[in-house]
């Protein structure tokens, strides 16, 4: 069953410790796993001494040592390839790819190797790695620091694809991913590393500290992969989203006062199909929001599933709100981004249909 954990609920107690932002939560997950499991190792460009260009691994080399957390040559196929070999030995590597946009040189080692090693060796060898990588736009990063390539990975069999939307989820999901014996691509929405984002780029940024999901336990906990989170319960329309877009969609729904049910998928493969079906059967309408380009995006898969499984409950065509089918532009970043206006237009349409 999906969890129901409203993103905007007040914390249970008012004690509210300082809270963690998403980077700190990821760092805490890595630290926890390095402590718990001597087979966990971290490698990637600039992750060692410096602690990563986004600081996700800050302090970990100092604490856990150079043979557990280390810098790598700038070679993404090398990084993933050696992680396959480390997995073959029995380690549990957590490679970082500095930006999702730079994962492509490592694609062959993911697609042809990590994703298939269990199958082709009948389980003699596995690739229990978790590839962490910041993804998504909204930081004026231009076309090579903004992409959302998740559907490349959901399209291939053998890899799991996980995308958190809060500090709390980031830690719990990352721990589950690291413990998982399959290769996992763990995409981190870099736009919301420091605070949730309502899609209004021209308004001041809110820090995570004000958000209940910044209340992240220091200790070990996990969130099972394949369990969605219903962040808002509603009757009028089901909104499926993940990563940054959960917050943007939720903000639009609240602003418009629409009784939408907003589901944070959290993991695309495995997918919480039950949560989706239950919700769409109830609302009769389904809107899918992602930042990635539209054509052959994960929204297409979701749309097909909803149509196959909930057709007789649908009162309107499934609608997708996505990035445009262009490279991510630099200056027109906010014209590209599927922001409040695009979401609002789609919501109004699906509710009218």
């Amino acid at each position: 069953m999906a969890e129901v954990k409203p993103l905007d609920a007040k914390p249970a107690e008012a004690k509210a410790p300082k809270g963690m932002n998403m980077i700190e939560a990821i760092n805490s997950a890595l630290d926890t796993m390095l402590d718990r499991d001597p087979d966990v190792v971290i490698l990637g460009e600039d992750v060692g001494y410096f602690g990563g260009v986004f600081r996700a691994t800050a302090g970990l080399q100092e604490k856990h040592g150079k043979t557990r957390v280390f810098d790598s040559p700038i070679s993404e196929n090398g990084i993933i390839g050696v992680a396959v070999g480390m997995g073959a030995y029995g380690l549990r590597p957590v490679p970082e790819i500095q930006f999702a946009d730079y994962i492509y040189p490592g694609l062959d080692q993911i697609v042809s190797e990590a994703a298939r090693i269990r199958y082709r060796s009948v389980g003699q060898f596995i690739a229990p790695m978790t590839i962490r990588s910041p993804y998504g736009g909204g930081i004026f990063g231009g076309q090579t620091h903004s992409q959302s390539p998740e559907s490349l990975f959901t399209h291939m069999s053998g890899v799991k694809t996980v995308i958190p939307s809060t500090p709390y989820d980031a830690k719990g999901l990352l721990i589950a991913a690291i413990e998982c014996d399959d290769p996992v691509v763990f995409f981190e929405p870099k736009r919301i590393y420091n605070g949730p984002f309502d899609g209004h780029y021209d308004r001041p940024v809110q820090p995570w500290a004000k958000h209940p999901a910044s209340d992240v336990p220091k200790d070990y906990y996990r969130i099972e992969l394949g369990k969605a989170n219903i962040v808002r319960v509603g009757e009028a329309v089901t909104v499926l989203a993940y990563g940054t877009m959960v917050h943007v969609a939720l903000a639009v729904v609240e602003e418009l006062g629409i009784d939408a049910e907003v589901i944070d998928l959290r993991s695309l493969v495995p997918l919480d199909i039950e949560a989706i079906e239950t919700s769409v059967r109830k609302t009769g309408r389904c809107m899918i929001v992602h930042e990635a380009t539209r054509t052959s995006g994960f929204g297409a898969e979701l749309s097909a599933l909803v149509q196959e499984r909930c057709f007789y409950h649908l009162e309107a065509p499934v609608i997708r709100v996505t990035g445009f089918d262009t490279p991510y532009p630099h200056s027109l970043e906010w014209a590209y981004f599927p922001g409040p206006i695009r979401i609002k237009t789609a919501l109004e349409k699906i509710l009218k249909d």
């Binding site: 087979d39 070679s75 231009g142 539209r294 445009f324 262009t326 490279p327 532009p329 630099h330 590209y336």
Partner: protein
């Protein structure tokens, strides 16, 4: 897992993993004691048609022309007239003035990002001057000097950096990811080292067509770890491509010292030897040495003697980019401790020593260039800065994705325009 350590060979010492560590870190005194600096003028100059195997030492030595007194010495000293050397100095000063101004512009919020090449001005500029104007360059992001040396208008560079309504690249690319076919400057990619095999392909095409143009490409020492680097060298060797590979060894790749690209074991120039490619290792802060080495490699390529790999031994004096603060990973005053000095000061000293230049002219030129860059910046700002209204029309986002716009992009373009009207009603 039970099985993996279950059969220790009891009489063997355990293995250990080597993780490279730079000689100094923040808080330490900078340490370049591992850097061996040959005297200027001592490296012999082989004939341009030498067999790579006969000049192996050049991959481990250091071609240097300018000595400590500013004299140009030894067989590599290029025969350049004073006018050309002054022009070289001027380009180098121009790129430094430009970098300083654009760095500040980013800090003032006029754009998202900037990358300087401070300390590396002698890498791109003399090399470009040693090439023919119609040779094609496939640079990384740190060779803005190529455009400067080919007299690309500063205002167009700034328009690109501001991603404004006059940006020649229509606001599509991250600042400094220039492209100018007209100036023999291939479109810069954000993805490292992709330009390397592309440059080889360009050179192969030129050879296949019986052309006389050659190609040159650049990447950082960190980037040599990418697979594309090795693919490029293999292809160049197989097809004897008329190309110059430049490795800019500025010691750092963001926070990773060159040891993480293999620099602890051998030189980067030596990468060429395994492929049978002629290799030169050059003092990258010595403008005349870079000029001479490039000239040698260009002559070699143009006479069908094949590819050359040049390692430019230099130092990244500043942060990787405006997003980086090197005080977090390297010793504070490495820059001043760097044993090969400042490339501009060295060329200046040479010109002064040979009576072709003086301090007053130098200062006047610096002021002139700083004013020139400032004026270009002001002019460019009239076309807008990033995030302030004056951008390219929304339609441009959808153009050039394909040669012709397919229906789905046409629809999305309409949608973008409707969203624009909704946000800013007419």
């Amino acid at each position: 897992m039970a099985d993996r350590q279950s059969t220790p060979k009891s009489n063997l010492a355990p293995l250990s993993l080597h993780v490279p560590e730079p000689p100094s870190r923040p808080g330490d005194a900078p340490d370049f004691s591992h850097v061996e600096i040959l005297k200027a003028g001592v490296t012999p100059r082989p004939a341009e048609d030498s067999d790579p195997a006969a000049m192996r030492d050049h991959a481990y030595g250091l071609v240097r022309v300018l000595d400590d007194d500013g004299a140009a010495v030894g067989p590599w000293a290029p025969k350049l007239d004073a006018e050309t050397k002054r022009r070289m100095l001027k380009y180098m000063l121009r790129v430094r003035a430009f970098d300083d101004r654009m760095y500040r512009a980013q800090r003032q919020g006029k754009t998202s990002f900037y990358m300087k090449c401070t300390g590396e001005e002698a890498v791109a500029i003399p090399a470009t001057m040693a090439l023919d104007r119609d040779d094609m360059c496939f640079p990384s992001y740190r060779q803005q000097g190529i455009l400067i040396a080919r007299d690309y208008p500063l205002i167009d560079m700034i328009n690109q950096i501001y991603s404004n309504s006059a940006d020649p690249l229509k606001g599509r690319q991250l600042p400094i990811m220039y492209s100018s076919r007209e100036h023999g400057f291939f479109s810069i990619s954000g993805n490292l080292t992709t330009q390397y095999p592309q440059a080889v392909g360009y050179a192969m095409a030129s050879a296949a067509k019986g052309d006389t143009r050659i190609a040159a490409t650049w990447c950082g020492e960190g980037s040599t770890a990418e697979g594309d680097f090795h693919a490029a060298l293999t292809f160049a060797a197989v097809y004897n491509a008329p190309i110059i590979f430049n490795i800019v060894n500025n010691q750092w790749a963001i926070s990773s010292f060159s040891g993480f690209a293999g620099g602890e074991r051998t030189t980067f120039a030596a990468r060429g030897l395994g492929y049978g490619i002629a290799a030169l290792r050059v003092d990258g802060n010595d403008a005349l040495a870079v000029y001479a080495a490039t000239r040698w490699a260009a002559d070699r390529a143009r006479t069908n003697k094949g590819p050359t790999l040049i390692e430019h031994f230099t130092y990244r004096s500043e942060g990787h980019s405006t997003s980086d603060d090197p005080s977090g990973y390297r010793a504070a005053d490495e820059k001043t401790a760097w044993p090969l000095g400042d490339p501009i000061e060295r060329l200046k000293a040479h010109l002064v020593a040979s009576g072709e230049w003086d301090d007053d002219r130098h200062e006047a030129l610096r002021t002139e260039l700083s004013d020139e860059v400032k004026a270009a910046g002001k002019e460019a700002e009239k076309n807008g800065v990033l995030g302030h209204g004056l951008h390219q029309p929304f339609e441009t986002m959808f153009e050039d994705v394909y040669a012709d716009m397919p229906w789905h992009l046409r629809e999305q373009m309409e949608q973008a325009l409707a969203e624009k009207d909704a946000k800013w009603p007419k």
